[in-house]
Symmetry: C2
Subunit: 383 residues, 2 copies
Amino acid sequence: MSVTAAKGFTAAGIAAGIKDNGHPDLALVVNNGPRRAAAGVFTANRVKAAPVLWSEQVLKSGRVEAVVLNSGGANACTGPLGFQDTHATAEKAAEELGVSAAEIAVASTGLIGLRLPMDKLLPGVGAAAAALSPHGGEKAAIAIKTTDSVHKTAVAEGDGWTVGGMAKGAGMLAPGLATMLVVLTTDADVEAPGLDKALREATRSTFDRVDSDGCMSTNDTVLLLASGASGVLPGHEEFAETVAKVCDDLAQQLIRDAEGASKDIRIEVVNAASEDDAVEVGRSIARNNLLKCAIHGEDPNWGRVLSAIGTTSAAFEPDALNVAINDVWVCRNGSVGDDRDLVDMRYREVRITADLAAGNASAVVWTNDLTADYVHENSAYSS
Amino acid sequence: MSVTAAKGFTAAGIAAGIKDNGHPDLALVVNNGPRRAAAGVFTANRVKAAPVLWSEQVLKSGRVEAVVLNSGGANACTGPLGFQDTHATAEKAAEELGVSAAEIAVASTGLIGLRLPMDKLLPGVGAAAAALSPHGGEKAAIAIKTTDSVHKTAVAEGDGWTVGGMAKGAGMLAPGLATMLVVLTTDADVEAPGLDKALREATRSTFDRVDSDGCMSTNDTVLLLASGASGVLPGHEEFAETVAKVCDDLAQQLIRDAEGASKDIRIEVVNAASEDDAVEVGRSIARNNLLKCAIHGEDPNWGRVLSAIGTTSAAFEPDALNVAINDVWVCRNGSVGDDRDLVDMRYREVRITADLAAGNASAVVWTNDLTADYVHENSAYSS
């Protein structure tokens, strides 16, 4: 269902030859209106890929006609010539669709530091435009895969309107945003400011809290396009909740497909003095390599959780900290709690609960374990 | 030569039975004076082991008679009873040596969250006191090993005085300080404030810049004891340089013995606007798991260096960044530079130079690669 679940959108996914292996590598998503409102959230990395710099400008108008996405190359750290390549991609799509290049967003994913093969990419944009279909969402989702083992799509229904989307990402899931490209579409008749508010609220509690390996990408892009084709303008809260539902679904798919992982780790920080404290502590636990190794070894090593909490500036007293692993409170009052042998860690999902005993706020951060497969995949990636 | 290289010190290292495998696990270092001045630097982790809480208090007086160190258990996250165990350890040593427990520092290393076997440790303190020798430094260094493959000692000579030391640490080398226990001794006749100044200056540019896996320990302790037995009071600069030399030597030994590592990575950040910027960027590169995997795979993946720089708040323009790997400038002006195939990465030491083109400050941070062996060692550690 993907990006064509909502009315008013067509999409395509084709093999343009950007990837040497002949797999699909170019996607096009077109908003056929009547409205063409859009919002976007981008990587917080200060080293931004050319398509991010381009699309940030496009999104300032709150209007997007179409999105061109490619896998097989990130077009990051490619200098002024790389930016020209993104510009040329937008121009080509604009020409095919008979619209302005200033309303074409571009997103890229793949290796950093390599120019894109424009002799293949530009004809690919033409081929994708010719293949556009109201049933093309699935193919578009497939074309943006890199090391993803599966393509990722999600849909949620409102009252007479729909939000759908696709995502790509399988590693480098990190702060701010993960290395992911996400396009969400809706036929709800929402203007750009409403889209922006809903998207920021949704990403803040979903994609922003998926932290597979702590590494922030140069290319993260999350776009939300509205066609208005349903003719329905939902209330903000209802709309925002539905967008968040689709984001949450896609974020869960990302964490489950993280490179080389054998465990999905749900870290819930409770009784924090503030939500910021809860997120800071959650992230610190999520990024602790020693803990991630221990979880891989099915070792309920709560000492490493406390170590990670101790590096934060959150409000807490060391002697008041409690930690549960898979619901067994193995650490109570900063010291040994219930018998660690009671913790059953055979399953893929591991739940860590960190009780800061400092207030009423909470947050959930997801991460993965650290495995020899992760090392292997990321040692061999570019060679 | 270790902690008994300087005059006025005796030491011992024995097997007290704290470790199940019968290896040496208890060390005692005694300052026989005439002066008994001391300074200490401890972990910045807010979750501090009982011996750290104890020794921080002891060091406030600037006077230390002796240090008891044990491997085989960190005595961290052990609550009030764990603190009583540390207190009892100091009392026992004080009784053996005929001094006050308030002048006995204690340091522990090993697993978190387990009480120490005091029925073995306390008799061990007695046995160590009986074994004290002016040639005991080497044995003391051996007794503090945990996963260390070798024991670590260093010595530097001043004009008529000496600084010597021992260190333990092979993983969890991190911010602020690594998981390490370090005892430095000198027969220079320096009072506590002079020791404190020299030690802080030295750790700031040595141990503080060794960041093997980004995980901060609960137990890090670096102590500097002065006996004054040489009768020489060196100038501050000369003394501080010699202390820094011993710290640098030990820090290098720590990084070379990091758990499961196959590469030692020297990250030099140059042309930064400030030293703080240089250190922030160095640490961000040092902690990037994707880069650490790439280096393991002998892949000069400069894109991951730029990605890591981009997550910092340091002053730089993305288009002005330059990166060299083993002296080949593979990234120039934020984009593709010299041929990456020119980079020879077969050797254990890898040098990354990040040029921020923003000023005149610089800093060096050391880290290791991320390997399947690291994952294996840290998955299996407590089981």
